[in-house]
Amino acid sequence: MSEDLNGLAESIQYVTVMIGGQLFGLPIERVHDVFMPESITRVPLSNPQIAGVLNLRGRIVTAIDMRRRLHLPERTDGGQAMAVGIEHKGESYGLLIDNVGEVLTLATSGREPNPVNLDMRWSMVSGGVHRLNGQLMVILDVDRVLGGMAESLAA
């Protein structure tokens, strides 16, 4: 990763999101927008982690249910889902999350590797962990979140 090469003084901005009570951070340059997904059309026979497709300003966006992607229980509080719009290999995706938090600027030096005992399914999509005051932020590696889905499809 480029930030590794640029030395320790570098810092990255993360958009923080909550998914199933866990704080996650997405590198800000990967986040195109944050929106409230409306009228998601489900796609029969698709991977259950795909919530469906939706129209975002004339573009068709594939919505990924991040709770299912991370093997977390379904949401029960009935709150309005939020989505983080990202681009991956020229296609638009919306990651469905519970809430969006603030943008944090964190020094790359504070990033720690995934704990070895982290659930495999999580460590596959996590780019490391930041210790924040009072909680931990897991870095979501967007490419691996989506790439992993495409791979499982190819298998």
Binding site: S39, T41, R42, V43, P44, L45, S46, N47, I50, G52, V53, L54, N55, G58, I60, T62, K89, E91, Y93, L146, M149, A150, L153, A155
Partner: protein, 935 residues
């Protein structure tokens, strides 16, 4: 790139294509002056422009070719050789143009070979013709040729005459006359110029040599010549006028780059979407002042859309343009007479589609010429005309374009395809035997498949038909073929007219909306339980009586495996709803939906890569109300229906489907044969390596046993019934079994059939060699235990069995729900030295363990009802008492994924069913390992 150059390239490429076609026509119809004029004009234009742009190489070739064609115009007989030469020149020009396009520079190189050849042909041809003319029509047809003839025919002047021609030829050579205007002037007066006008740049030679020639003709001849010239001039003028007329037509059309058109198309597509959205909004607000202007906008949009679509439409003939030339060249190269018939060249289709089918079509025509049509002598022997015909036709059919490529050749060689299929490992011999011809033909579309025995220049490189199929698949088309031995084959390609905008029917199923392309919708039927049209059931298959036909039905919700989002939603009766009658290929079926809305023009947007594997959808789009909708792929549905209705049961529930596939997995192919007695005997086909037939006199006897030479080694024969009278003449059929490089032949009386059925051994047998009896195809059949015969051929066939027997008799638990495998493998395992306990299910196996029985090793099937092999293995591994017992998986599906899954579940090894050797080896391995640990 320079605009001028680009323009030139486009124009030249187009002209060259036309020249190709025209030349071939001309060769067949050499007296057609119109065609010749056309060719001449095109080549001339190329030459002229080249001179203008300063492209000496192109110009030189074009010029030489033009000269030769000029001779044709003057009445020189058209020979295939000459046409070949002109075609070769056109090819050379094409090559240079291609380089020019790539590098913007004329490539270095010399064309003197070609030019010399062309010149020689012009001279020789002219001289010949002239001589002929001089002899026959000397004075009656005075012409420029006559003048030349006069020169050429006079013996003393022969050399001089030739020289004159050379000078005359050179006079027009490029470089010397480079101005376009000058060229045009020449064109106007070409016939005179050749003879009388001195070359301004070579005055001294002309003065020396030309005058005698010019002065040669008598006064009368000269007069006639003048007359002739005048006529020619008038003709030229007419033609020029004609040309101008054409020019004015040309000036009414402009060239637009494809990118511009594509962009326009995209924008119109977006406009259509926006219009739809607006219409939707207005629909909600009753009397809106927007209504009228919006209606207008809507109409304009529709017209605009149509107009833009039209700009993209091109006659399919433009994709065929190159074919006559290709076929002509092929017919020479292959020494076959081929006629190419083209029907429906004016059929229009989207240029995007056109581009994509161009290459496949060319390839298929080549194939037909090379593989399909026979040589004339063979055709004659088969009572066909010498000339083979390739017929290319295109026509519209229900929103699709059908293109057929038919030849009257020998048809596909099914035997050779079979051999190739087996050689390439695409299917086993036994699989092939069961396939209908049509399915075997389909293999020619498999990658890397070519039956051409020798690789020709034309085809047979093994890339081709698969590329053809891929290309056609990519545009949502289908390809089919019919072939009759000795009568030829017909390929039928069905492709959509356009890829961009589709008219669809919006339907609802389980609360979700879907778009069905209207192209495949035949009609809509309302079905109600009490109406004329009601859904009936045969077993559990829903069907509809529609005009004396039985229409298979499928519920869209079941096909897509969806239930209503709202759990409280009360599903309508399954027998109520709308039936969308669809036709895909030859297949007609009804899709049951809950509601049908309106039709909507939609712009197909490609699906996300993550969804592209779902065959039920071809794309998605945004509807007028802004929501995204999935577009149903009729082909996907047809396939799904084909596979559900094809099974013995047709129920649509997932679970049932799984079960059915399991049931189908249990039906196995069996080889039925007769040996000894009259009752049919059966053996699983997968155990048989090959079926052979040997003539009796090939059977040799050595050391008291019968052998045949088979594939370079001796194969022992075993007779099914030792005591039976053996045939003394004719041939004997045998089943060949091979295992680790050794083969044996089991001689039988007659091979009856290969059938697909469930194997359920109902009555056991004490007779050696017979496992028991089963009902196969309603007949009681003896199931043969091949394990009995193998050691007869090689005593050490089950050598491993002895070694393991020596160790100790070990106990083995074999779990399989299929009685066949229990019956089949039980004896095998016993023979391998195990004391075998059989369990019908994982539950039963676990009960054995609970009862305190001990086993040294467990072999378990994977696909079992109630508790799968995976779950069984996991259960065993959880128990501290049982987890050390080695457990082997035995499964029909040995995919890497399932093997991995097996490892995770705790299986020590994963073996394919029927892999008897593999199973025994694996057993030996786990036993040894275990033994070693114990010791």
């Amino acid at each position: 790139m320079d605009d001028l150059l680009r323009e030139f390239l486009t124009e030249t490429n187009e002209s060259l294509d036309v020249v190709d076609v025209e030349l071939v026509k001309f060769e067949q119809d050499p007296n057609n002056a119109k065609i010749l004029d056309n060719i001449f004009r095109l080549v001339h234009t190329i030459k002229g422009t080249c001179g203008f742009l300063g492209l000496p190489r192109l110009e030189a070739i074009a010029h030489a070719a033009e000269t030769l064609m000029g001779k044709f115009r003057d009445g020189v007989p058209v020979t295939p050789g000459a046409v070949n030469l002109v075609l070769a020149s056109i090819d050379r020009i094409k090559g240079i143009v291609a380089d020019l396009e790539a590098s913007e520079q004329e490539p270095a190189g010399s064309d003197s070979d070609l030019i010399k050849e062309l010149e020689r042909m012009s001279e020789g041809g002219a001289a010949e013709a002239a001589a002929a003319l001089a002899l026959e029509k000397q004075a009656s047809q005075p012409s420029k040729l006559a003048e030349m003839a006069a020169a050429a025919a006079e013996p003393p002047k022969q050399a001089e005459g030739t020289l004159v021609f050379q000078i005359l030829e050179r006079q027009l050579r490029p470089g010397e006359v480079s101005l376009d205007e000058l060229e045009r002037a020449f064109r106007e007066t070409a016939s005179e110029a050749v003879v009388i006008e001195p070359d301004p740049s070579k005055p001294e030679i002309i003065i020396k040599d030309a005058p005698p020639v010019v002065e040669k003709p008598t006064a009368a001849q000269a007069k006639a010549a003048v007359q002739e010239r005048r006529e020619a001039k008038e003709k030229e003028k007419e033609k020029a006028e004609e040309g101008e007329g054409k020019g004015s037509v040309a000036s009414q059309s402009i060239r637009v780059s494809v990118d511009t058109l594509e962009h326009l198309m995209t924008m119109v597509s977006e406009l259509v979407l926006t219009r739809n959205q607006l219409l939707e909004i207005v629909r909600r607000h009753e009397d809106s002042e927007f209504k009228v202007p919006l209606q207008r906008l809507s109409n304009v949009t529709a017209e605009l859309q149509e107009g833009v679509m039209k700009t993209r439409m091109q006659p399919i003939g433009s994709a065929w343009q190159k074919l006559p030339r290709i076929v002509r060249d092929l017919s020479q190269e292959l020494n076959k007479q081929i006629e190419l018939e083209m029907v429906g060249a004016e059929t229009e289709l989207d240029r995007q589609v056109l581009e994509l089918i161009k290459d496949p079509l060319t390839h298929m025509v080549r194939n037909s010429a090379d593989h399909g049509l026979e040589r004339p002598e063979i055709r004659r022997a088969n009572g066909k005309p010498d000339k083979g015909t390739i017929r290319l036709s295109a026509f519209h059919e229900g929103g699709h374009i059908i293109i057929e490529i038919a030849d009257d050749g020998k048809g596909l060689d099914i035997e050779r395809i079979k051999t190739k299929v087996v050689e390439n490992g695409l299917a086993t011999e036994s699989e092939i035997e069961k396939m209908p011809d049509a399915a075997i033909f389909k293999f020619i579309f498999a990658p890397g498949f070519s039956t051409a025995s020798k690789i020709t220049n034309v085809s047979g490189r093994g890339v081709g038909m698969d590329v053809v199929k891929t290309n056609i698949d990519a545009i949502g088309g289908t390809i089919d073929l019919k072939s009759t031995a000795g009568q030829g084959s017909t390929f039928t390609i069905k492709i959509p007219l356009t890829l961009a905008i589709v008219s669809t029917l919006i339907v609802e199923s389980a609360g979700d909306r879907f778009a069905i392309p209207q192209l495949s919708v035949v009609e809509l039927v309302r079905a109600q339980s009490n109406s004329e049209h009601r859904i009936e059931r045969i077993r559990d298959t829903p069907v509809l009586r529609l005009r004396n036909k039985l229409l298979p039905l499928v519920h869209l919700s079941k096909l897509l495996d969806i239930t209503h989002r709202d759990p409280s939603y009360e599903a309508k009766s399954e027998d109520d709803g709308f039936i969308v009658v669809m036709q895909v290929g030859q297949q007609t079926f009804g899709v049951v939906v809950d509601a049908v809305f309106h039709t909507e023009e939609i712009v197909v947007k490609p699906m996300s890569t993550m969804l592209r594997h779902i065959t039920m959808f071809s794309g998605n789009t945004i509807l007028g109300d802004g929501s995204v909708i999935m577009i149903i792929d009729p082909n996907g549905i047809a396939t799904a229906i084909g596979s559900t209705t094809g099974g013995s049961l047709a129920d649509d529930h997932r679970a049932d489907e799984d079960e059915r596939s399991r049931e189908q997995a249990q039906t196995i192919s069996m080889l039925l044969f007769r040996a000894g007695t009259m009752e049919p005997k059966a053996i699983p086909l997968s155990l048989v390596t090959r079926l052979e037939e040997f003539s009796v006199d090939k059977i040799e006897s050595s050391n008291g046993r019968d052998l045949v030479q088979y594939r370079g080694s001796l194969m022992p024969l075993v007779y099914f019934d030792e005591h039976l009278q053996r045939k003394t003449e004719g041939s004997v059929p045998m089943l060949v079994f091979s295992d680790s490089g050794r083969s044996m032949g089991l001689v039988v009386d007659e091979i009856i059939d290969i059938v697909e059925d469930r194997l359920d051994i109902q009555v056991g047998s004490d007779r050696p060699g017979i496992l028991g009896s089963a009902v196969i195809k309603t007949k009681a059949t003896e199931v043969v235990d091949i394990g009995h015969f193998l050691p007869q051929a090689f005593e050490d066939w089950f050598q491993r069995k002895e070694t393991s027997q020596e160790v100790t008799t070990r106990s083995l638990l074999f779990v399989d729900d299929a009685p066949f495998f229990r019956n089949m493998l039980g004896p095998v395992l016993k023979a391998a030295g195990y004391s075998v306990t059989l369990a019908e299910s994982a539950k039963e196996a676990i009960r054995y363990f609970e009862e305190g029985r001990k086993f040294d090793v467990v072999v378990s099937d994977i696909e079992m009802p109630e508790m799968s092999g995976f779950e069984f293995a996991e259960a065993l591994k959880r128990s501290p008492r049982l987890k050390h017992i080695p457990i082997l998986a035995l499964s029909a599906s040995c995919t890497p994924a399932s093997i991995e899954r097996g490892r995770q579940a705790g299986f020590d090894d994963y073996i394919a069913k029927f892999d008897r050797a593999g199973l025994i080896a694996a057993l030996k391995e786990v036993s040894n390992y275990e033994y070693g640990v114990a010791a």
